[in-house]
Symmetry: C2
Subunit: 321 residues, 2 copies
């Protein structure tokens, strides 16, 4: 079973089931407990957004999904999974997708090496996929994404962070992998470089919107559920788009954040963020990226899947999970 | 500058300089501090034993060293480096090769992602090397090695550990990478599978001896320097060959290790290990593996490098560093 968002796209859903089977089939981890935990992570209901985009963009110009496209989809999801396991170690997270985090079920050391294993495993799928150098994207993409992660880590607790720098950061960290997904799906031997670039940038823009919504959800959603904003990230020095915008409008926030001492300070920060236009501002950024992506998709081959992609984008973007 | 052990082999030394330049040339980490720290790790005087073996085995049957062989050597060393950085995070090490450990210079999170970056970077070299599936070794080797690391981690603090299980463990963790190095160097289009196997097993046996000596050094060397055995590993639940042998001869050690409370307990453990034949036992194991390796090397093509390989093995094995 893949995530229920795919039920509206039965062909993609059944392709994704194949991708998932491939991800599981060749795991060569011999310790049964570690293997079981990796399976848990694969089976927990991730959205498979990246793999789904590979397959949807492939269906724009290919009648059947080749083994190579399935390899790209599996490789990208496995790489994403490897980074999630490492992120959970780093963030000392308790849960991931409703299951106990890897490092808690096992140990930090096992989670680090399990992530390494999945990273190497992912690279095999990607290299076996025939994904080659071409304009805009190349074999180094995975390294560039990890470079993006490193840049983000270096920017932690930097109160001089700007929206511009933040957007550049998530481009390296998230959007590049989405671009690899869409261009990897769309690429065929006969496709022109100009068209490939359209597919790549569409993916990058979807990725930008996707990450901004993630940040928005982290920031505002828990507020409704718990009655207070999720200021954990703020206290950890993570400056995402909503916070950067709020600081820009209410400069006093910059100092308040650095000297949180009690509940009252938290309440004051919360109030200031709510008084700012951060939520609307980020929403507009999301719309801007999506509109750009939609225009590009309309320039690619048109068939039933073109409208399915647009509908999928709406589903992913109006999510509250 | 590569490690001084290579001065006795000037051709290999100059090849290794080229490998090192390649390792540095394509790093795409954009943060200057992180990049500098990665360079520090590359420049710190690692022995480059694995890369050196690639080149030596290549010179057994090839007149010139091709770009592919340099790629294999660079990929294997970069992969080894990635695991060292992750090991240092896991072991909370202070130093590595005389420089401050990565996670201390930066942070755990940056060290984890820097290791991931190097792992992906290593995989590109390995896949670009034209190293293909063939008998005994295949594209999955890196995954199998990481599986070996996971098995070792799972065996931590297991007092029922046997020499047999331990040897199987270091075969997966260390010897496989040495096998990849020797077979990767030796492999040419015209070479028979039987010969490839000889080269592979020779590497594996050198790797087994190499790891056993590492364990031996960790265990006994610091004893001379500090006046007490390096029982840190023992207390961390790491059972290497010397300890397993000592426990086998002095079963009382098994319980003593689990209940260390003070200096006196440590002294008692130290005395018991010294009374055992663990040092001679491990030394004999090393000799057994080396003799096997030497016999295999004598079955491969013979030229000046055959005797250089034998001399290098002696150098690596009689080391006290």
């Amino acid at each position: 079973m893949v995530h229920p968002i795919w039920q509206a796209y039965p062909k993609i859903e059944s392709d994704l089931e194949r991708v998932k089977k491939m991800m599981i089939a060749e795991i060569s981890v011999s310790n049964p407990e570690i293997k079981a935990k990796i399976m848990d992570y694969i089976n927990a209901s991730g959205k498979f957004a990246r793999a789904g985009l590979v397959l949807m963009f492939a269906r724009l110009n290919q009648k059947t999904i080749s083994q190579e496209k399935l390899n790209i989809a599996a490789g990208i999801e496995l790489f994403h999974l490897a980074t999630l396991i490492h992120d959970d170690v780093i963030d000392e997270a308790d849960q991931r997708r409703g299951i106990q985090a890897f490092h808690l079920a096992e140990s930090n050391r096992i989670a680090i090496y399990a992530g390494d294993y999945l990273l190497a495993y992912a690279m095999r799928f990607l290299y076996q996929s025939g994904l080659n150098d071409f304009s805009g994207i190349e074999q180094k993409t995975i390294e560039l994404i990890l470079n993006g992660e490193l840049n983000q880590l270096k920017n932690v607790a930097d109160p001089t962070m700007t929206i511009y720098r933040y957007l550049r950061q998530i481009k390296g960290k998230t959007a590049l992998l989405f671009g690899l997904a869409t261009v990897g799906g769309y690429q065929t031997e006969s496709i022109s470089r100009r068209q490939l670039k359209q597919a790549y940038y569409a993916g990058e823009e979807i990725g930008m919107a996707f990450q901004l919504i993630d940040d928005q959800l982290d920031f505002f959603q828990k507020q409704e559920q718990t009655g207070k904003p999720q200021l954990q990230d703020v206290m950890n020095g993570i400056y995402t788009a909503p916070l950067i915008r709020a600081i820009y409008q209410k400069p006093i926030l910059k100092n308040l954040i650095l000297s949180i001492e009690n509940e009252e300070d938290l309440q004051q920060i919360q109030d200031l963020i709510e008084e700012s236009d951060a939520d609307v501002y980020v929403e507009n950024l999301v719309k801007k990226y999506l509109n750009k992506a939609i225009k590009r998709i309309q320039k690619l081959d048109q068939n039933d899947y073109s409208s399915e992609i647009l509908s999928l984008i709406q589903t992913l973007m109006t999510r509250d999970y």
